[in-house]
Amino acid sequence: MRALLPLALTTLLLAACGSQPPAPEQNPAGVESRSPSGVSTAPIGQGQPDAFDPTSAAALKDPRSPLSKRSVYFDYDSYVVKDEFQSLLAAHGKFLAANPKFKMLIQGNADERGSREYNLALGQKRADAVRKALALLGARDEQIEAVSLGEEKPACTDASEDCWGKNRRGDILYSGEF
């Protein structure tokens, strides 16, 4: 069950992460190559309702596992991972170390205030902070890509501090989820 990723897909993902200019016309490295249909993690873990292995793929979606929690929240204009998220990241770091074939996309986000491009850079700092924490926990560089969505994909769209706080975050996605 652990060998979820066919080798071909892994190769595709590696290719999509690398630099590839100039790309062919009208055929950019798009989301298509990253999320081919037919990849599903749904059946995993069925039949074992009472126990789970914290480093198994099943744990990624098991609500009892810290691995099912995927968001790290940040303070305004800050890119320091707060203490309350250290145990969450420790679980993901261990998982990546134990599953070297798994890849992770970390998407950093920012609240809407100010310049879109500067917010993109702030989101990148948040994604990089998550990436560095995971690297210290044993994840390898080639497993992780840290990117930013800036203020473009808000989880919440009200103009309030509560809402902005939800948008200042890093989201963790695993192979097959992006």
């Binding site: 999509a16 992460c17 690398g18 630099s19 590839q20 200019p21 100039p22 790309a23 062919p24 016309e25 009208q26 950019p28 490295a29 798009g30 989301v31 990253r34 996309l105 998407q107 205030r113 100010g114 310049s115 879109r116 491009e117 500067y118 993109l120 850079a121 702030l122 990148q124 700092k125 990089d128 890509e145 840290a146 990117v147 930013s148 969505l149 800036g150 473009e152 994909k153 992006f178």
Partner: protein, 421 residues
């Protein structure tokens, strides 16, 4: 005559309203000393001539620099204008014209601009166009009148790019500078930001999130074809063209942190421009090609710096306040538009680079993405009115103000295209 013009104007408005996501322009402030000028109806093909002169009048009026005087009767280019009558009405200049059909089926327009006080011809101009190019000819006539009367090039024939966001859909649109003729160059379910015109006006570089991460593309407008200009590991963003159109400055995170790089427009030959331990982003070339202005938090807060293109030490440009971003040098290189935050408001500001004197040009609170008209007279920017994204334009002296909006959608990320002769 007036009634007919009114009916035509109403028809034109209806036609615009029915077009999807049409950008409409509203004048919200005008210059202090507007030049009184009369644009007479042209003689010839009546419907064509009136549609033409209404474009010319609307362009000149929208600039905030002219006040329209009713000429009363149609005037051919070759006819002597009723100078005494025009002088009595207060007009300083008068434009007459003639529209005719050429042998090849195209329209021919001849225009004469005259000085009312001196009773002398200022200039003559002739145009040939097909029926579908009517508005384009109107803009060119307005450019002619504008340049003759102000000494600066007009920008009525230029185009603007911007992003329209409706529910679950992003469109990169290109329109005439008056918002007419809007066309979508790209439609996507994922965000599109930071469009930047190539100096020849033929291409746009932009950032698209269609690959679940920011990737820089270069899009050829005439063919609709595009290629990836930067897709390295991490984020790729903030493209801007070198004045010669050969290179792009971009922001990449492939080596850790958001840092400035240069690539050839085809995506080859990446090289680093500057290094810092913090954020460096929003690069913009100075018009002379010698410097790159950019935003950096290397001093603890986001401020504007510039660095020689050939390398060297970065020089800090902004000092007031704790958030100054999105530098945009004016076309003459003498001033710098940027967004400054004060008391929680993000406002468009303009700095005289020689004296470092800064003036806030707006009274709004969420200004973003300023973009100079190629003659430097107006600055187009994104802002928010009533919770909705709109574009606005303000003259560099802060007097002339316009609002450009699309019904039931957010408009953002404006970029004013170059002069194309």
């Amino acid at each position: 005559m007036k009634f007919q013009r009114l009916v035509l104007a109403c028809l034109a408005t209806l036609a615009l309203g029915s077009a999807q996501a049409q950008l409409t322009v509203e004048i919200t402030g005008a210059g202090a000393n507007r030049l009184p000028v009369a644009i007479a109806d042209f003689t010839g093909e009546r419907i064509v001539a009136q549609a033409l002169t209404s474009v010319v009048r609307a362009d000149l009026e929208r600039s905030g620099l002219f006040r329209m005087i009713d000429a009363g009767v149609p005037l051919a280019d070759s006819a002597t204008p009723p100078f005494a009558d025009l002088k009595a009405k207060g007009a300083d200049a008068i434009t007459g014209g003639t529209v005719g059909m050429a042998a090849d089926g195209r329209y021919e327009v001849r225009v004469r601009l005259s000085d009312v006080l001196k009773q002398a011809v200022i200039g003559n101009q002739a145009y040939a166009h097909t029926g579908s190019q009517l508005r384009a000819t109107g803009h060119r006539i307005a450019d002619f009148v504008y340049e003759k009367l102000t000494g600066e090039p007009g920008v009525f024939s230029t185009r603007i790019a911007y992003v329209v966001k409706s529910t679950g859909r992003y469109e990169l649109q290109i329109a005439d500078a008056d918002g007419g003729n809007a066309q979508a160059a790209l439609a996507s379910r994922e965000p599109i930001i930071s469009p930047a015109w190539s100096p020849d006006g033929g291409k746009l570089a932009y950032v698209s999130f269609e690959a679940k991460k920011p990737v820089v593309y270069v899009h050829d407008l005439a063919s609709g074809r595009r290629h990836v200009a930067a897709n390295f590991k991490g984020s790729n963003s903030a493209p801007t063209w070198s004045p010669d159109g050969k290179k792009l400055a971009v922001v990449l995170t492939k080596d850790g942190g958001s840092q400035l790089y240069m690539v050839n427009a085809d995506g080859s030959g990446v090289s680093r421009v500057a290094s810092s331990s913090g954020i460096d982003t929003e690069p913009r070339w100075s018009p002379d090609g010698q410097f790159i202005y950019f935003t950096s938090d290397r001093g603890g807060s986001p401020q504007i710096y510039r660095i020689p293109v050939t390398g060297g030490a970065a020089e800090r440009i902004t000092f007031e306040g704790s958030y100054n971003v999105t530098p945009r040098p004016s076309p003459d290189g003498k001033s710098l538009a940027f967004i400054a935050r004060s008391s929680g408001r993000f406002q468009l500001a303009l700095m005289d680079l020689a004296t470092k004197q800064t003036q806030v040009l707006t009274d709004s609170a969420k200004d973003e993405s300023p973009s100079f008209a190629p003659n430097g007279r107006m600055i187009l920017y994104a802002t928010e009115i009533g919770g909705r994204g709109v574009l606005a334009a303000v003259s560099s002296d802060g007097r002339v103000k316009q609002k450009l909006s699309v019904q039931a959608a957010d408009v953002r990320e404006p970029a004013w295209g170059p002069l194309v002769r």
